[in-house]
């Protein structure tokens, strides 16, 4: 058994050495990214000092034109929205931001559900690279699993499945590509229009609420209150019709409880049925984003004035 244990130990030592070496290299290149979504996350967490911050998922990322906000409000703006990442991610990022500075306005684009969904927890992997350097985010990151802190003993693990994304984010070509599509301060426009007629979609009906999600969502609202940052919670436009949506109702109720304005654009006549403003049923294209951002700018101006 000793012979076996010694071979196992040698194997383990080799793995640990390689893990440290490869992990450190990945860390270096990850934080050296100058474009792409990894860079946008790092910038949101560690660098931005924009007056207006937009939080949300892909819908936020593609709907809020930061250039337009800057031009029309004279306030700097950054869009922290990231594809497929919902309230856990947004709250963790907010915690890091508030540790560094206090923005003048926050817009939270609400998407998702308060029901339990394992993939929402799995997606917290996008924050693993920040676990060591950002103590304030740890309680959210550790929701991913009870063994997460042990898994993070590995240096490679935080960069799992990111090798090619890290490589691309270091290429000058990717930076140029992002500029060419009109990306600006986190905002990434979508191009193309939605074809065909709109459908009636079966949206969320009553479900059991995931306590973690509800708690973290409330934490987001309370953090902004605590730091006296005006907050707007928005449900941005969709190009489908629906009878009722339990998640939107819940969001509205929680916002009302904390006296936070909640503006729901999901049935707005300015957008619904206008396929030329949409890339797909849940995402506006650049033209749609421009029109929508105009409306948000109005709300921001009112909000900032109100809070002066």
């Amino acid at each position: 058994m000793i012979k076996y244990a010694s071979h196992l130990l040698i194997g383990l030592i080799l793995v640990v050495i390689a893990d440290i070496a490869i992990g450190k290299a990945l860390e270096y290149f990850y934080f050296n990214n100058e474009s792409g979504l990894l860079h946008r996350t790092t910038y949101s967490i560690e660098e931005t000092e924009a007056d207006v911050l937009v939080f949300g998922s892909s819908r936020a990322n593609h709907h809020y034109d930061t250039k337009l906000i800057e031009e029309q409000t004279n306030l700097s703006a950054y869009n922290t929205g990231r594809d497929g990442n919902f309230i856990f991610y947004q709250t963790a990022v907010l915690k890091s931001v508030l540790k560094r500075y206090t923005p003048k306005q926050i817009v939270l684009d609400f998407t998702g559900t308060f029901a339990f969904n394992q993939s929402d927890y799995d997606r917290l992997s996008s924050l693993l690279p920040y676990y060591r350097g950002h103590e304030e985010m740890r309680d959210v990151i550790l929701l991913k699993s009870k063994f997460e802190r042990f898994k993070l003993w590995s240096d490679i693990y935080p960069y799992n499945s990111l090798l090619t994304t890290i490589a691309v984010g270091n290429l000058e070509f990717n930076k140029r590509r992002e500029n060419n599509v009109g990306a600006y301060n986190g905002y990434v426009p979508m191009h193309g229009t939605m074809q065909g007629s709109i459908e009636t979609v079966k949206t969320d009906t009553m479900y059991d609420i995931d306590d973690n999600k509800a708690r973290v969502f409330e934490e987001f609202l309370l953090l902004t209150k605590e730091h006296k940052v005006p907050l707007l919670v928005v449900y941005s436009p969709v190009n489908y019709t629906y009878a009722s949506d339990y998640s939107i109702e819940l969001c509205g109720r929680i916002c009302a409880k904390h006296q936070i304005p909640f503006i729901d654009f999901s049935r707005s006549d300015d957008f619904v049925s206008k396929g030329d403003l949409f890339h797909d049923e849940s995402h506006l294209n650049a033209a749609g984003a421009e029109l929508f951002t105009e409306k948000i700018i109005q709300l921001i101006e009112d909000s900032v004035i109100d809070n002066r």
Partner: protein, 466 residues
């Protein structure tokens, strides 16, 4: 408890340490308790089902062995089979049969409402039921005497490495091993560790990665073009191989470290030259189970030609149904049976020696045919399967890649898998590869690839649902 969970990574080393520290006479108790603990991590109440199956088969075999009248022994065997398959039927097939009967009767203009059961399918029920029934049949056929030690028999039914997804062991092979005094064996432990690492690579790096693409395409087949559907089908072929083969590899490796030999379950199936050979390489423990307990008792090949074809079709149709209560699985089994029959009718079995190009062509043809059957296996419904086949034949269009990085990792995983399988298939045994340093390098690299490219969302193994 999932093999690919962090809990199992803590559980197994602890089991090993305690197992080898304990005196021999206490080890079976320890393994029995850990096996039930392992199973009860899913749904504790369903441990009662394993317990019931254990008690039923043990009691039937016990009395069967003490009876001399063949008729009574046969009655006991039938009782044992009916009770075991009755439980399986209730949990797995009842709703399927009643739904199908309802559809048929409605089609005929009759309306009969059947009571519904909304029961969760117990994990691994098909596996341990088959293993237990196999034991009862073996005792009936006097291939082995009944096991006197109830505890060790209970361990045979519930042995945790192979409890929920096989390999489906034979009593003649596994039961005697629980009576042997086992000492820690360095060579076996090393072999077991290698199998475990390779199994994790297959599951976490290849199968779970491929599943992301396959699910995207197969869950919305009407949105995808021919090329995307073909790629998704090929990906699924490797996904299911790596998912199930990976599980088997980890199971065999874990058992090996503990000192037990489980049967080989997969032998590089996609290098098969005929569909017949494929079933000698794929899920070997199940295909031999069907051969021994269904095909041969029906007469096997020692009957008229037409009866032989019928026997083959029945064995494969039942095998299809074993996989799941859905017509897609029945058709999948039927197609595989049909391929076996056609092989015999047209005498297409592979010659022992052939030109390399002919061998390659046979492997490719077999791969294409098996992929065709996988469409039915993976499709969510028969309607989806027909949509997929229709679109593959007619629908040109753009190629869906999904996540670029994920697609690259998928191809990387398949390449490494095929390279390793090819190396083993050709039995190359290159001196450089056999060197200790090379082995360290290989298994360290596999571990690093698991960390770098593995999918760590703790997804279940496909075969758990069977």
């Amino acid at each position: 408890m999932l093999f690919n969970s962090f809990t199992y990574l803590l559980f197994f080393p602890l089991v090993c340490i305690f197992y080898f520290v304990l005196p021999h006479r206490m080890r079976w108790v320890f393994l029995l308790l850990t096996s039930y603990f392992f199973y009860m991590n899913w749904e504790p109440i369903y441990a009662l089902l394993i317990g019931s199956s254990t008690v039923i088969t043990y009691a039937c075999a016990y009395f069967m062995d003490s009876l001399r009248v063949d008729r009574k022994r046969k009655t006991l065997l039938i009782l044992c089979i009916v009770l075991n398959f009755g439980i399986l039927f209730l949990f797995k097939y009842y709703n399927f049969i009643t739904d199908s009967a309802f559809d048929l009767l409605t089609y005929l203009g009759l309306r009969v409402d059947f009571p519904k059961f909304s029961l969760l399918l117990p994990v691994g029920i098909s596996f341990y039921t088959f293993q237990a029934v196999g034991y009862a049949v073996d005792v009936y056929k006097k291939r082995l005497p009944h096991e006197k030690h109830f505890g060790k028999y209970a361990l045979f039914v519930s042995f945790f490495p192979q409890l929920v997804a096989g390999p489906i062991e034979r009593a003649t092979s596994l039961l005697p091993q629980f009576h042997k005094v086992i000492r820690f064996d360095y060579g076996r432990a090393i072999d077991g560790t290698k199998l475990i690492i390779w199994g994790y690579f297959m599951k976490v790096v290849v199968a779970d990665r491929l599943s992301i693409y396959v699910d995207s395409v197969y869950n919305n087949p009407e949105m995808h073009s021919s090329i995307s559907l073909v790629v998704a089908t090929i990906f699924f072929a490797f996904q299911i191989y790596c998912d199930f083969g990976g599980y088997s590899s980890i199971a065999i490796g874990c058992a090996k470290i503990l000192g037990f030999d489980l049967m080989t379950n997969f032998r590089r199936p996609y290098f098969a030259q005929t569909c017949g050979e494929f079933w000698h390489r794929w899920h070997i423990s199940l295909s031999t189970w069907f051969k021994d307990y269904v095909y041969i008792p029906m007469g096997g090949s020692r009957v008229s030609t037409s009866r032989r074809y019928l026997n083959l079709m029945v064995a494969f149709l039942v095998s299809g149904l074993w996989h799941g209560a859905n017509w897609t699985f029945v058709i999948w089994g039927g197609l595989n049976g049909l391929f076996q029959v056609l092989l015999i009718v047209f005498k297409l079995n592979a010659p022992k020696s052939a030109a390399k190009w002919a061998t390659g062509l046979r492997i490719l043809t077999t791969f294409v045919l098996i992929n065709f059957t996988w469409i039915f296996f993976r499709a969510n419904s028969l309607t989806d399967a027909t949509v997929i086949i229709k679109r593959i034949a007619t629908q040109s269009g753009s190629f869906f890649i999904g996540d670029n990085a994920g697609f690259i990792y998928s191809l990387l995983g398949i390449s490494i898998l095929l390279a390793k399988d090819l190396y083993d298939e050709l039995n190359l045994n290159l001196p450089i590869a056999e060197h200790t340093y090379s082995k360290y390098l290989w298994y360290t690299s596999l571990t690093l690839m698991i960390l770098l490219f593995g999918v760590f969302d703790g997804s279940e193994f496909i075969y758990f649902q069977f």
